[in-house]
């Protein structure tokens, strides 16, 4: 409880400082939090069609792009990670692909998918698949020799080997990759919406900027922060449940 207070006091303090400074300075670029909140209220609560028309589609694209990347990344990663040969062929290519700034491919995707949702999904998937894929490869490789031997001796079927041994052994690394990918998904969602669409949080940010409505622009930025915080918190909770089997601390574990 003490820690909770500590955490949020400083946060609240900063907001208050911002509020006072913002009111005193009257700088149009840095409106006080109360104005931002009012703008958000008018924008999203009084006009709920902005939520259904912009925020929800954005979240939908973000989550589906991330989910597609997760499915492809994990399955491919498990296969590549258990074959040194395959990794030798694919490794350098993967390292190169990961280094490509995904927005640079937006023009290509725009033409290939003729704009719209599929182009945005392609951008998100291409941008966020690498952390999942490379972490899964890393995790799948980390299955220790004794577990490999144990599985071989008991001649377990292939699906049990992959789903029952490699996947759980790799899961801590996979979750780490999923978290990185989720925050990247947010970035790419915004990027993909800044071009080639007229709905979504990103496009609304652009509109606000073009109309010199800085208060709304700030509201959009805060919304993205809240969204990122919320998504990360949910994923952490899921991770904690899924990885509950991990030995939590050293003194709980008998060596």
């Amino acid at each position: 409880m003490n820690k909770f207070l500590q955490r949020w006091t400083v946060f609240a303090g900063l907001v208050v400082v911002w509020q006072v400074a913002g009111m005193l300075a009257e700088d149009p670029f840095f409106p006080p939090p109360s104005d931002i909140l009012t703008a958000a209220w008018e924008w999203w609560v009084l006009e709920p069609e902005n939520v259904t028309g912009h925020i929800l589609p954005s979240i939908g694209r973000l989550l589906s792009g991330w989910a597609i990347a997760a499915v492809i990344g994990i399955s491919l990663g498990l296969l590549l990670g258990r074959s040194d040969r395959a990794m030798e062929y694919a490794g350098p290519l993967l390292v190169f692909m990961r280094s490509i700034p995904p927005p640079a491919l937006v023009p290509v995707f725009l033409l290939l998918f003729r704009g719209g949702t599929s182009m945005q999904l392609a951008t998100i998937v291409f941008g966020v698949i690498w952390p999942v894929l490379l972490n899964t490869v890393d995790g799948a490789r980390s299955v220790d020799v004794t577990k490999v031997d144990t599985s071989a001796v008991f001649r377990i079927p292939r699906h049990q080997w992959i789903l029952g041994v490699v996947l759980p052994a790799a899961s801590p690394k996979i979750f780490a990759g999923l978290r990185v990918s989720l925050s990247l998904s947010l970035v790419l969602m915004v990027i993909s919406e800044l071009v080639g669409t007229d709905n979504g949080i990103g496009s609304q940010l652009m509109v606000a900027q073009r109309e010199f409505d800085y208060t709304r622009m700030w509201a959009g930025i805060v919304l993205l922060g809240v969204l990122g915080y919320g998504l990360n918190t949910v994923l952490l909770a899921v991770e904690r449940r899924a990885l509950a089997w991990q030995p939590r601390s050293r003194d709980e574990q008998h060596a």
């Binding site: 500590q6 280094s99 700034p101 927005p103 033409l111 290939l112 990027i191 800044l194 900027q209 930025i221």
Partner: protein, 247 residues
């Protein structure tokens, strides 16, 4: 067959597939030019001083951004990592700031900082801060208490411990953070150049090629060069880490 050869074969296979796709009637030729065409354009561009100045501008901006990010994140990380009270107090702020995507700040940065290189460098610094900051904090968490106690016993003060024990043992993690930050900085740099209309840089080159003549081959040249820079940055920093951190 050595691993290196296999890697080359992998890349060659990818290029062959791309060539096939690019030449097939399934995909419009102007949308995805085959690698042979892109390669030809790449050779032309690499000899053009204009293109090279774009590359230099981006690389330079990335290096500046990394330097600034290190200068901010490492000291902050050391403070946050060694003083738990400060860390608990700022945790909510940090957890809220971190997920704000740097691209979402583009409109704000444009109106505040204008269209010069300050905008893209600031945004790249913002994105590059986090990996370095978190790796530094994490490194201090992992610090062996025995090591600290030992040096305490020998009369080393708090600051002495920080510089002579904590920093050296945190170095490998910090370097890993810098490597991650460099890749992120490059991606953000190119993205901002691409979307915020800088006057120079690889991203600007890509945007020009797309919006003007619709030269997809040039778009892909820019993309490939950005990827190569990313690989070089990543490998270079990995090599630095291996060399410095021999323990």
């Amino acid at each position: 067959m050595r691993a290196f050869t296999r890697g080359l074969i992998g890349i060659a296979g990818f290029l062959a597939l791309w060539e096939l796709l690019g030449r097939s009637p399934l995909i419009p030729a102007h949308a995805l030019p085959p690698p042979s065409a892109v390669f030809g354009e790449l050779v032309t561009q690499l000899t053009s001083p204009e293109f090279l100045s774009h590359v230099v501008a981006t690389v330079l901006a990335v290096l500046i951004a990394i330097a600034i990010a290190i200068a901010i994140a490492v000291p902050s990380g050391l403070v946050l990592g060694s003083v738990p009270a400060v860390r608990h107090a700022t945790r909510a702020v940090i957890e809220f700031l971190r997920p704000i995507p740097s691209v979402a700040l583009i409109p704000l940065a444009l109106v505040v900082l204008g269209f010069g290189p300050e905008t893209k460098i600031t945004l790249a610094v913002y994105a590059a801060l986090w990996p370095i900051l978190f790796n530094t904090i994490y490194a201090l968490d992992e610090l062996d208490p025995l090591l600290v106690e030992t040096s305490r016993v020998f009369g080393t003060g708090r600051v002495g411990v920080l510089f002579r024990v904590a920093l050296p043992s945190a170095l490998p993690f910090v370097l890993t953070g810098i490597r991650l930050a460099a890749t992120t900085a490059l991606i953000v740099m190119v993205s901002v150049e691409l979307m915020a209309g800088a006057q120079i840089g690889l991203g600007y080159f890509i945007m020009e090629a797309r919006s003007g003549p619709g030269r997809m081959d040039q778009v892909l040249v820019g993309t490939v060069v950005a990827g190569v820079i990313g690989v070089l940055l990543n490998n270079g920093l990995e090599r630095v880490r291996r060399r410095w951190v021999a323990w």
